[in-house]
């Protein structure tokens, strides 16, 4: 029997990384919010690697933080190791990477959810989403509870008709052997959404006490570990190392000897996996010339002996997995605690969404995270935040928040999802961002915190911290620009000589001096020329000065880009009447209905010739009117 269980503004279905952000955002913006999960014990579960960040993803996590999201804060609480990678490759691509304690990550997030006013947590399986003329009207659980609502956000991860595959052992299941959601897919189909099927996978886990670390290379954390959130303190924390080992020719022979039993090759797996995170057997087959692949042994937490074998995603039969593990230096006597598996699941083809992540066909229905065909905790959390914000804005009567590609990785990701054909799970890469030098992890707050404040997601504490930072930056910038030296200045001359820097020819400001690669902020502070300031302030100044030329180049590119973004396409355009479009372009344009010529030009299958046609037609119409 179905009963009326109450009313919320927003219901979030699924409490993984997307769902938690979505629910917190909606509740913090003042919406009465229900977060429904299959298992409260598995909220914010990290069923794959125990790590957050890395290239593009760390930028994303900082953006979530800048807007008032939770992932950065939660990662900082649960981190057991921090490393900055890509340090020599430039500020735009430097990336922070954290190892997280999985259990602590879960508990810390549950704690935050429970403390959030306006947010209720519910353990249930939502089976159906109901609509009326205005769009989403309610969700119904397996046990018959109908929750009326104005907006629903589906953040069901890989649970929709999840199917676990280990060799020839196949059964319905969600990640980590959770119960899958078997009914919701049908409801989404009935609402008119198109679903696809993807696969992903995870490696086996091993017991720390059975590993011989003497045969591996230690990978410790940074000496001066940083944090993800602009709010977290930098107080030192004990760090736990990762370990580097590698596969051997024997490992590869074991894989090849058993390849006929690999589901990837027997055709059991039909879903498409990502190239960026291939299974180990896939790597061995595809890169046959390589006799060895790197493998990282990563701790899963402070209070567990379980360790993760990064690089060894596999759905080989369990007995083969064990042989493979034991052929790896340091793992000769390893005890396998959990078997690696592949998982297949339904996802919503994201071309059906608006840039707000609302389904075009179903007003009030939002989807976010892996259910949109992405991979990665960070991508999921980022979409969750966007969907949560936009669901709340819809309920509150505001205009949708659409971040531009020139503004945030969040904007790049959502724009890619909607416009590009994704025939594999989507992973965010820095190379997907055209204006990478502007979208750095060090300036996410400068880009986005204003916006977060405007929509009501940035609280007073964060706002104060942010404004203090702005003041400090302004102050130091002025100091740098206004303090200048002549060639006659002896203190400057000896300073330059000491740092192997050329002598001055004309009067030079400290701001200009800072452009020299051999000169850094810390040295200027040491000299007493600049007042001491926190490291992030000094770093910010250094980047802004040293990369000013390239930053300006990218700003120019953005200006050009925005010209086409600003050529808006009338919402009521009838593409059938645009003569000369290719059939594929016509179909795509009708489905996606881009807002601008710029967006149209990014749609897969829409060619420059189609854009010419569109452009000419709009131009003709404009001149006629």
């Amino acid at each position: 029997m179905i009963y009326d269980a109450g009313e919320y503004d927003v219901v979030v279905i699924g409490a993984g990384h997307a769902g938690c952000e979505a629910a917190l955002a909606a509740a913090r913006m003042g919406c009465r919010t229900l977060l429904s999960t299959l298992s409260i014990e598995h909220i914010a579960l990290m069923p794959c690697n125990p790590s957050i960040g890395g290239p593009a993803k760390s930028q994303l996590v900082r953006e979530i933080d800048a807007l008032g999201g939770e992932m950065a804060l939660n990662t900082d609480k649960a981190s057991i190791q921090m490393r900055m990678i890509n340090t020599g490759k430039g500020p735009a691509v430097q990336a922070l990477r954290a190892q997280a304690d999985k259990h602590q990550y879960h508990w810390a997030m549950v704690d935050t959810l429970l403390q959030q006013p306006g947010l209720d947590l519910l353990m249930a399986e939502v089976e159906r989403i109901e609509t009326d003329d205005a769009g989403v009207s309610a969700v119904v659980t397996r046990t018959g509870a109908r929750y009326r609502c104005q907006a629903a956000i589906v953040t069901s991860g890989t649970y929709l008709k999840g199917r676990i595959i280990i060799g020839d052992v196949i059964y319905d299941g969600g990640p980590n052997n959770q119960v899958p959601a078997m009914k919701l897919s049908q409801s989404l189909l009935e609402l008119g959404l198109q679903l696809g099927r993807f696969k992903t996978g995870t490696p086996p886990r091993i017991n720390r006490r059975s590993v011989d670390f003497s045969k591996m290379i230690e990978q410790p954390g940074d000496e001066r570990p940083l944090r993800f959130s602009y709010l977290s303190s930098l107080e030192p924390k004990e760090q736990i190392s990762c370990w580097l080992t590698h596969s051997t020719p024997l490992t590869h022979r074991i894989v090849m000897d058993n390849i006929h039993r690999a589901p990837m090759f027997t055709g059991v797996i039909k879903g498409i996996g990502t190239r960026y995170c291939p299974s180990f057997e896939d790597k061995v087959v595809r890169y046959a010339h390589k006799s060895s692949h790197q493998l990282f042994i990563e701790p899963e937490g402070r209070n567990t002996d379980e360790m993760y074998v990064q690089g060894l995603n596999t759905s080989l039969p369990e007995d083969v997995q064990l042989q493979v593990l034991r052929s790896i230096p340091g793992l000769e006597n390893v005890h396998m605690m959990r078997t690696g598996y592949a998982i297949e699941y339904d996802y919503v083809i994201p071309a059906q969404l608006k840039l707000s992540l609302e389904a075009r066909a179903v007003p009030g229905l939002f989807t976010a995270g892996q259910v949109n065909g992405t991979s990665g905790y960070e991508e999921a959390a980022g979409q969750g935040l966007v969907a949560g914000i936009n669901a709340a804005l819809k309920v509150l009567g505001g205009e949708a928040l659409i971040l531009k590609r020139s503004q945030a990785y969040l904007g790049v990701m959502v724009d890619d999802l909607v416009n590009k054909d994704n025939d594999e799970p989507y992973r965010l890469l820095t190379s997907r961002a055209e204006y990478r030098l502007l979208l750095r992890q060090d300036n996410a707050d400068l880009r986005l915190t204003n916006i977060g404040r405007e929509i009501g997601l940035v609280d007073d504490q964060r706002w104060e911290v942010f404004n203090r930072k702005l003041e400090q930056l302004e102050e130091i910038r002025q100091e740098l620009e206004q303090t200048s030296f002549t060639p006659a200045d002896s203190a400057m001359a000896s300073f330059l000589a000491e740092h192997n820097s050329a002598g001055l020819k004309d009067r030079l400001s400290l701001w200009e001096l800072l452009r020299r690669p051999e000169i850094g902020m810390e040295q200027l502070v040491e000299q007493g020329w600049i007042k001491p300031a926190p490291p992030d302030i000094l770093e910010q100044m250094e980047i802004q000065s040293k990369y000013e030329g390239y930053i300006n180049k990218q700003r120019e590119q953005v200006k050009k880009f925005e010209k086409l973004e600003q050529r808006l396409i009338p919402e009521d355009i009838d593409y059938q009447k645009v003569f000369g479009l290719s059939n594929e372009a016509l179909q795509k344009l009708q489905t996606i209905r881009p807002r601008s010529i710029g967006q149209a030009s990014r749609i897969s299958g829409v060619n420059p010739a189609d854009i010419n046609v569109l452009f000419v037609n709009l131009e003709k119409a404009r001149r006629k009117s």
Partner: protein
């Protein structure tokens, strides 16, 4: 949505086996059908399947046959313009084609403007931007060779050359991006390979630009000045050259009356030929002024042909003229070599005209003149790379962008290893952006606007 119907004779003017009249637009088939009498009674163009020919007559208002013709129907979007199109194949010869066209135009069909069929092809999505630019070139082509080049560009050739360059840059970008996004698997990028790729880009860009400059010569032509003292044979040379080489374009804009000019074609290169003789004949003031004017004409010319008279030796007057010449742009023709009285011989001038081609010949006897033409072609094309297989016509815009890219590639190559990877990627990205503007892959509002301006849309 189709446009107003237009028609024009699409084959070159003059005698030929057949002439083709192309009619394109919403009413093309119906209106041609109205004046087309099929050979087989009861048939009609309206029912003729696409790409099939029908025999019949074009008839006039009284129903009298004008010419026996074949008509072929192409229905949108499967035609050159992507509109409904009829082509009437009538007998060659100016009169028959003209009369048939007139009958078509009498059906309230407008005569097409130059390039208008191609313009429609572009507007209907059949052409990319670089092809559209070529259309403008086709309309403006001044020699057969220039036209051929424009047609090649129209076939999308430019885009393919650019795509090759883009391919190298994308490879470079991939090396950089792999090192950034897959840092733990890939490590540092292979700088040697990056350098090699940038070298390829630089070399191929140079080839493109050279080919573009060559094509530019064929498109805009060159200015050649004939100079030398009176009676050395300047006018005879001018007359001979202009008699031998019929110019396609005979229109002379802004001709300076003081100077005799002819528009001719040498080996496909449009040449504006200037005889400085005019200076002396119309100028009755002191000689220095004449020299000054000759000097100016020489300075403005791409090439000078300096005539000497074998029978008079090298005189003071010759020296005066010679001092105005730029040795790198001068050909020496020692005229009247057929005369017995020779005051100049090869030994005597050895070392005098270093670096300049010297030809002994006779305009009168037509000796050495084909050699002269070879030298003109060679000198004009020198500095544009060896005459290679690559033939490409670049618009001014494309030429400018590619030149900038050429400089940029060299700068970036010099910075390899010093520039951080994120900045290096910006540089590669900017290069790709610029190339994309040439190929039409990268859309820029300004470019579209300008092309549309050239096409006079909406008028």
């Amino acid at each position: 949505m189709q446009e107003e119907t237009i028609a024009a004779i699409s084959t070159p003017p003059g005698e030929g086996g057949i002439a083709i009249i192309r009619v394109s637009g919403a009413e093309a088939i119906a209106k041609v059908d109205a004046i087309f009498q099929p050979r087989v009674q009861g048939r009609s163009l309206l029912e003729l399947p696409g790409y099939q020919m029908m025999l019949g007559w074009v008839k006039d208002a009284q129903g009298e046959p004008v010419d026996e013709c074949l008509a072929v129907v192409m229905r949108q979007p499967h035609s050159y313009t992507a509109e409904d199109t009829v082509e009437i194949h009538c007998h060659g010869g100016v009169l028959a084609a003209r009369q048939c066209l007139q009958e078509v135009l009498n059906q309230d069909i407008r005569e097409a403007l130059p390039g208008e069929f191609t313009q429609r092809a572009f507007l209907n999505g059949r052409l990319d931007i670089s092809q559209a630019e070529a259309v403008i070139e086709v309309i403006r082509a001044r020699s057969q060779k220039a036209l051929n080049l424009a047609v090649k560009q129209l076939s999308g050739q430019n885009r393919r050359y650019i795509e090759k360059l883009e391919d190298h840059l994308l490879q470079a970008a991939a090396i950089i991006e792999a090192s950034i996004d897959f840092a733990e698997d890939v490590g540092e990028p292979d700088y040697e390979q990056l350098e090699e790729l940038l070298n390829k880009v630089a070399d191929e860009l140079q080839m493109l630009l050279d080919a573009g400059r060559r094509a530019e010569i064929y498109r805009s032509g060159i200015k050649v000045v004939i100079c030398g003292k009176p009676n050395v044979g300047k006018s005879s040379l001018l007359n001979w050259l202009s008699g031998r080489n019929r110019a396609i374009v005979t229109e002379i804009p802004g001709t300076t009356r003081d100077i005799i000019e002819e528009y001719i074609n040498i080996k496909g290169i449009p040449v504006r030929l200037i005889d400085t003789a005019g200076i002396r004949q119309t100028e009755d003031r002191v000689e220095t002024i004449g020299v000054q004017m000759a000097q100016q004409a020489i300075a403005e010319a791409d090439l000078a042909i300096f005539l000497l008279d074998v029978s008079s030796g090298i005189t003071a007057e010759d020296e005066d003229v010679f001092h105005c010449l730029d040795p790198s742009r001068t050909i020496i023709l020692i005229n009247k070599d057929d005369l017995q009285d020779k005051q100049i011989d090869a030994a005597q001038i050895k070392g005098r005209f270093t670096g300049m081609p010297v030809i002994f010949g006779s305009v009168q006897e037509e000796q050495g003149l084909s050699e002269l033409q070879d030298h003109i072609e060679m000198m004009v094309l020198s500095g544009c790379g060896a005459e290679g297989a690559m033939e490409i016509l670049l618009s001014e815009r494309q030429q400018r962008i590619l030149e900038q890219c050429g400089e940029q590639v060299l700068t970036v190559r010099g910075l390899l290893g010093m520039l951080s990877l994120d900045c290096l990627a910006v540089e590669i990205g900017l290069l790709l952006d610029s190339l994309g503007e040439v190929s039409g892959r990268n859309l820029k509002a300004e470019v579209l606007d300008r092309i549309f301006k050239d096409f006079c849309i909406g008028k």
